[in-house]
């Protein structure tokens, strides 16, 4: 098969990637575009490179927008009488009975209270890493530790819309960290990412696995190091 490239192609090959990424400017851009217009080989190269370039933004992880996002957006769009949202935080809260919200609030309050006590209380030693059941049977809490050193706390809330709250305090993570849970069958599930600032941060998210099935929670730093582990068994 004949090579469809022309002797000019080599001169423009260097620029095709930047053209595909939309970052080529000025004369180089104009000249490369003019060549692509008359060269089927480079046009095909450009198309493939552009597909790869466009795909890079797809790698960003999904994240739940803040509470009320949808309401504010639909107001701006003039969309009225929206049908109930089937998935996501806002609908989960709307669909959650008041007693469940109260329990969730209590969980957060309890977790924060435990966290504060553990940070500032007189008995500052490492807390128990085993599961601590509190009053509601579907609520569980455990300390996060890093080689035995307490670095935060995990609280899960069951019910029909499971939640998880993670708090970090004096952990070895800064920037983006990810929370994972390991279920009884040994499978690891990513719950989501959040930002820790100098080892501190708190975060809540919907839990897509049954809390009673969770055996372990992990917080992993952006370089892949596990900076906190909690045993939930």
């Amino acid at each position: 098969m004949n090579d469809p490239r022309t002797h000019q192609c080599d001169a423009y090959a260097e620029n095709l990637s930047e053209l595909a990424l939309g970052i080529l400017t000025g004369r180089e851009r104009a000249a490369t575009l003019a060549h692509v217009d008359i060269c089927a080989h480079c046009a095909e190269e450009l198309e493939q490179l552009a597909r790869a370039a466009d795909a890079v933004v797809r790698v960003a992880p999904e994240a739940e927008p803040p509470m009320g996002f949808e309401v504010r957006l639909f107001e701006r769009m003039g969309v009225a009488d929206t049908p109930p949202r089937r998935r996501g935080t806002a609908r989960r809260l709307a669909a959650t009975p008041r007693w469940a919200l109260a329990v969730a609030a209590a969980v957060v309050a309890l977790a924060i209270g435990l966290s504060i006590g553990w940070n500032t209380g007189p008995n500052r030693g490492p807390g128990p890493t085993a599961l601590t059941h509190v009053h509601a049977p579907e609520v569980a809490a455990a300390d996060l530790t890093d080689h035995g050193r307490p670095v935060g706390r995990v609280v899960t809330y069951g019910g029909s819309n499971p939640w998880m709250v993670v708090m970090l305090a004096d952990a070895a993570g800064n920037g983006l960290v990810t929370c994972e849970v390991v279920t009884a069958n040994g499978v690891t599930h990513t719950v989501g990412t959040f930002t820790a600032r100098d080892g501190y941060g708190s975060w809540g998210a919907a839990l897509r696995v049954a809390p009673h099935d969770v055996r372990k929670a992990l917080v992993v730093s952006s370089n892949g190091r596990v900076i906190g582990t909690a045993a939930l068994s």
Binding site: E14, L49, R58, P61, P65, E70, F74, R86, N223
Partner: protein
């Protein structure tokens, strides 16, 4: 009838015709991706919300002019989001998320069996895996160019490297990502 199971193209067409149910379904399908991209680029929830709202408003307004021959709905929506985020960062003179952190958060969200990404036909995981396989300096250059819209000259200045080195990193990295994306397309062709 348009509902939450309709294709992206059908929802956009419905939005273009003023169908509120289509708009609601589209927003609910895309809001996590749009907000996730803006947040990954800014590490700032309030900026990300502002950008995500504006991006979805623009998609809604411009739905009538979407041309599916020029690319997928997902690429269009995420490109709008990316461009608005870049503008928001520039206007605020805010520091964007470090490209290494952006890439790390992407790879963290990779499923635990990345080798199956091609079999699953998941382009996001295919690119995540390919991005993770790049040498760090190429990965950084590709993220700076493809996500943050930095030119080769800007990358050379920011990274304190010669312009030729910046161009080579961008080109080599993108060519390797292209190979991964084309393998996925070939696999999809075989299944047809």
């Amino acid at each position: 009838m348009i509902d939450s199971g309709s294709s992206d193209e059908a929802l956009l067409a419905g939005m273009a015709m003023g169908d509120q149910a289509a708009a609601v379904a589209f927003v609910r399908r895309y809001q996590r991706r749009v907000f996730g991209l803006a947040y990954s680029m800014t590490s700032d929830s309030s900026v990300a919300e502002e950008v995500a709202q504006e991006a979805l408003i623009r998609v809604w307004r411009h739905a009538p002019v979407f041309d599916h021959r020029r690319g997928s709905v997902t690429s269009w929506v995420l490109t709008i989001t990316r461009n608005l985020t870049i503008d928001a960062l520039r206007m605020r003179r805010a520091t964007p998320t470090d490209p290494d952190d952006f890439a790390a958060s992407a790879m963290i969200s990779l499923e635990h069996n990345p080798e199956d990404a091609v079999a699953r036909g998941d382009i996001s995981d295919v690119v995540r895996t390919a991005l993770g396989d790049l040498p760090a300096e190429q990965r950084r250059a590709v993220v700076l160019a493809a996500v943050y819209g930095r030119t080769a000259l800007e990358i050379s200045e920011e990274e304190a490297i010669p312009l030729g080195t910046a161009k080579t990193r961008i080109r080599t990295g993108l060519i390797r990502l292209r190979a991964a994306v084309e393998r996925l397309r070939d696999a999809e062709e075989e299944h047809r």
